[in-house]
């Protein structure tokens, strides 16, 4: 893609925190909190894709749902086209609802099994509370099915009568029905077979070009994110540890966690794969309920020093739009 003129980001997230209370007992007394998203900042330009990668439980879904205001942020700002929507009331947020849409990992769980495709799409189309004639709705459904490359005969089908790939196309059509500007795609291909994954990824890219869509693309599969995203943010235990141009994730990963994640993903290029160095991490991701102090990665990091146990390193620019949160960058890159 050609270098475009720098533009105002369509979405700018600043110091976002989303904590879930942990309650115990009959009275639901709060005994602690899960710091699911802990002080993250990033921006997405219009028409671009930000890929959010990390292992399960690191806070990807919570980030996506926080931006859509499905979850109430604990603190921080979410500027959508310059307006902070983080603390808006239900009524204030309503005009933005249709512009911000979500595509789920499991279209089966997110589609009402008792509704036909036609009913699902009609419902989405009419959320704008405008008057629509039956003919207008019919034409719109046809347009949407064409956009997601489903046969028009699909409109009478129910979710259980479709394949996983077809259901995901319906999920995409439902999101498009609202004429959104920004779509949070939460693991949209993770449950699909590889050949079907490619069909859906190509479709999402095509729709992005033809409709100028902006994506927050959440996934745990680094190769998929590399392919679809312009910018990648790597998350670990509620924090962004590295943020970079997608091309740099393979060419120039800096954070020890990013390197380990990258090394753990085998690649299908035989000659390269057989030469690659493998970094095998010890232990498992700690629970965010009692996340380690300092850098969340330090208990598993080969380079950890005393500083890492005490202070969370700041996400720091290292040039070329590349940001890393690590105290020991010098040692790590040597």
């Amino acid at each position: 893609m050609s270098k475009s003129i720098p533009s105002q980001p369509i979405l700018q997230v600043e110091n976002l925190k989303i904590y879930f209370p942990i309650r115990r007992g009959f009275w639901g007394k709060q005994v602690g909190e899960v710091k699911a998203v802990d002080d993250i900042s990033f921006a997405i330009e219009k028409g671009k894709t930000l890929g959010l990668v990390g292992e399960s439980g690191c806070g990807k879904t919570t980030t996506g749902k926080g931006i859509l205001r499905v979850y109430q942020p604990t603190s921080g700002r979410i500027y959508y086209k310059g307006t902070d929507i983080a603390e808006m009331s239900k009524a204030q947020i309503r005009p933005f609802r249709r512009q911000l849409q979500l595509i789920f990992q499991d279209p089966y769980g997110s589609l009402d099994p008792r509704q036909s495709v036609q009913a699902i799409l009609t419902e989405a189309i009419t959320t704008d509370r405008q008057r629509h004639s039956a003919a207008q709705i019919k034409a719109r459904i046809e347009e949407l099915l064409q956009a997601v490359e489903l046969d028009l005969s699909m409109s009478d089908r129910y979710p259980h009568e479709m394949s996983g790939g077809q259901r995901q196309r319906v999920g995409i059509a439902r999101a498009l029905a609202c004429d959104p500007e920004l779509i949070v795609c939460d693991e949209p291909v993770s449950a699909l077979d590889v050949s079907i994954q490619a069909q859906i990824i190509n479709l999402l890219k095509k729709l992005q070009h033809s409709r100028g869509l902006t994506y927050l693309f959440v996934a745990h599969d680094l190769t998929v994110v590399y392919h679809i995203a312009d910018v990648i943010a790597v998350m670990y235990l509620g924090k962004i540890v590295e943020l970079m141009d997608a091309k740099d994730i393979y060419a120039n990963p800096l954070h020890p966690y990013t390197k380990a994640l990258l090394s753990a993903v085998p690649i299908t290029d035989y000659a390269v794969e057989r030469q690659r160095k493998r970094i095998i991490l010890k232990g498992e991701v700690p629970s965010p309920i009692n996340a380690p102090a300092g850098c969340p990665f330090h208990p598993r990091c080969r380079f950890a020093t005393e500083t890492c146990q005490q202070a969370m390193p700041k996400l720091t620019a290292v040039g070329g739009g590349h940001q890393v949160a690590c105290h020991n960058l010098k040692q790590v890159t040597d």
Partner: protein, 332 residues
């Protein structure tokens, strides 16, 4: 590498007899496994990978399933000569061939501790005291890198993560001195860094205990990194087989090539358009004659419609393919 075959499957056929007809899940499948070798069985879901492996251990639910024919040669015996519930099969399932499933939680009993289950299995396969079995169990947990093994023996499965349970099952195989481990999508439910841990663990068993491993997966990356040879399955049949290098560098069958072209790769230009395989795998019922891949194939000829292509050897190496395509077209 010594080329002794520790397992040989010949012309295996398994079907499910459902109200709507016969589902030919495994249709004349042959493969073998050498000592200290890791082989991979790849293909999309529903193509018969799991049913093939379950047939080897006679774990097919019957009815509706039935092994219709073939031979499974292990330690000089044809396992199909034994009844599924026989003493011999039970012994083989633990001490001979161990299986690790995709959903590891379902392989453990939720109401017993890890230690109770481990010692139980160890004692059915080795004549030893409860105390000795416990020690063997602890050692096996330590061997698979589980910290505080003594403590962990007292845990229930739900108190462990998916990666941890996967390691417990591997420990069981070590404790029973299984010769072969069949790992069915062992890492699909796990996070990538945990996936890497589990795969490295399996790899270490090959070196340490001379174990041989069958990995069933749809992840071609895992295949590239860990397997010596690959069998590609489609619609209940093996359609290509060979050394990993040959399959990945010179795939022949349009399906194998399709599988490689539809996945993004970190080493290539990220703007390359992915080439999906059109459509979806067929249901394995009332398959029309000819090649099962033809509705999705980009290079169909007249032969493909009527005649099923049998596996034939191509090139000097052990590279086999079931496709009517001739060399010029395939390499174009």
């Amino acid at each position: 590498m010594e080329q002794r075959r520790v397992l040989e499957v010949k012309n295996l056929k398994t079907s499910f007899f459902t109200p709507t007809g016969e589902v030919k899940a495994v249709d004349d499948v042959s493969y073998h496994l050498h000592e200290q070798e890791i082989i991979a069985i790849v293909g999309e879901s529903g193509c018969g990978k799991s049913v093939t492996q379950m047939s080897v251990l006679q774990l097919i639910q019957s009815p509706p399933g039935k092994i219709l024919g073939g031979q499974i040669l292990f330690e000089g015996k044809n396992l199909l000569d034994y009844a599924p519930k026989s003493q011999e099969m039970r012994r083989i399932r633990g001490a001979g061939i161990a299986m690790i499933f995709q959903e590891p939680m379902t392989s453990l009993n939720p109401v017993y501790t890890i230690g109770e289950q481990l010692t139980e299995v160890i004692r059915t396969h080795t004549k030893c005291s409860r105390k000795d079995a416990w020690q063997i169990g602890v050692a096996a947990l330590e061997a698979v890198g589980i910290p505080d093994a003594q403590e962990r023996m007292r845990n229930y499965p739900f108190q462990m993560s998916g990666g941890m349970v996967q390691r417990v099952l591997t420990a069981t195989a070590i404790a029973c001195r299984s010769k072969i481990i069949i790992a069915d999508e062992p890492t699909t439910a796990l996070d990538v860094t945990t996936q890497a841990q589990v795969m490295e663990l399996l790899l270490s068993l090959v070196e340490k205990y001379k174990t041989s491993i069958i990995v069933v997966t749809h992840n071609l990356g895992l295949v590239t990194r860990y397997s010596h040879r690959v069998y590609v399955m489609y619609a209940g049949k093996i359609i290509e087989a060979g050394a990993t290098e040959d399959i990945l560098m010179h795939p022949w069958h349009p399906y194998t090539r399709g599988l490689l072209e539809c996945v993004p790769n970190l080493t290539e230009d990220k703007e390359r358009e992915l080439v999906p395989i059109q459509g979806a795998p067929p249901r394995l019922q009332n398959l029309p004659p000819g090649c099962a891949f033809k509705p999705r194939c980009t290079c169909v000829s007249g032969l493909c419609r009527d005649e099923f292509p049998t596996l034939r050897r191509i090139g000097p190496n052990e590279h086999w393919v079931a496709c009517h395509l001739d060399a010029e077209v395939s390499q174009a």
